[in-house]
Structure formats: C-alpha cells, structure tokens
Symmetry: C2
Subunit: 116 residues, 2 copies
Amino acid sequence: MARRLILKWMPNQERIDATFQALADPTRRGMLERLARGPASVSELAAPLAMSLPAVVQHLKLLEASGLVRSSKAGRVRTCRLEPAGLKAAEGWLTERRSVWEARLERLGGYLAEEM
Amino acid sequence: MARRLILKWMPNQERIDATFQALADPTRRGMLERLARGPASVSELAAPLAMSLPAVVQHLKLLEASGLVRSSKAGRVRTCRLEPAGLKAAEGWLTERRSVWEARLERLGGYLAEEM
C-alpha cells in the first residue's frame, strides 16, 4: 500500500516536500509576503529582518528550490520575484487530500454506526 | 512592516509552522494517507515502512504536534486517528495568501503597464 502510494506520488513528491518545507517557517512566509508587494533585491528583503545576510540568502535558496520565488541578477543586484503558481501545487494537494480523507472518514463513520 | 505582519500572524503562526513541517515529508504524508482509511495502531502504521519503530514514533510525534493526528492509549496499544480539521488551517492560509498575492501582483502589473 505504502509502496503503491509512493509510486503514484513520485512526480510531484519532491516539489511538494520542498514547498511545504519552504512554507514551514515564519521568516520565509514573511519574505513571500514582502515579495507579494512587488519585486525586491536581496538587501531589501534582508532590511527588516534581524538576521545576517547569509542567513537571508539561505532562506531565499529554499524559497527558490520550492518554485515559490525566482530571482535574476543584473550587474551586482539580484532581484527576487514571487511565483504565486508555486503555491497552487501545495494548495491543490491539500484540497484534494482533505476532500478524499473527509469522504473516507464519513463512510467509515456511517459503517460503524450501522454495525452498532 | 515585517513586525506588523508577525504580530498579525502570531495566533496561528506556530500551528501553521508545525502543520507545514509535518506535511513536508513523504513518510508522514503516507502515514496520513493510511490513517485516512481508518484508525491504526503504531505497529500497523510502522508495518509497511522500511524504518525502525522509534523513527516511526518520531514522525508520529510531529504529526500529533501539528494537530493532524491524535492518538489514545488503551492498555499497551496506542491507536492513532486522522484529524482532517488540522488540514483546514494550512489550506485556509494557502488559499487566502494566494488570492491576496495574485490580486496584488495583478494590480502591480496593471500599474506598470500604465507607466510604460
């Protein structure tokens, strides 16, 4: 069973891991919120945060790996942009699983009620 | 700005961290999928997994901390159950943020188009 599920999930598995991992931190969620107001340089992203620039860059790498953010370099400035489409995979996974699970648990509840 | 956002998010912050963290692993997502078919003991959860029982218990602790799973002990057997409501917080956060961000980026796009 577990094996079948793993095979079924393989194509999106790593992307979903990376997206949930990226979202599991308030600093990274704050950076996404900042980027939702428009593109920002790495320094602009770092300015309100009480942490070193290398620490900010580490958070940014996780956000980029997840597809939630992309960045491009012009001269010495790296500009970061939000990719809202990156959220859709995680949101789709949650919505789909929740509805499947709720339906299953309801059927299970109905079955147990009949048995009693 | 970052400070204001942090204050605004405080009530759900830790719960959302824990939920995304719990979801960011294929083994834990597989355990949730198993529990969606009905309650299971820790041994039943561990059976299909190629890992030690203590490792399974660690995954289970993260799932419980996030509110996605609850468990109760009767005699020597701990039975685990899915809490689909735990998914709703994370799903709600994603849906809300995505729609706000998309709207902002659209306005930003419109503004830039006018300026050009």
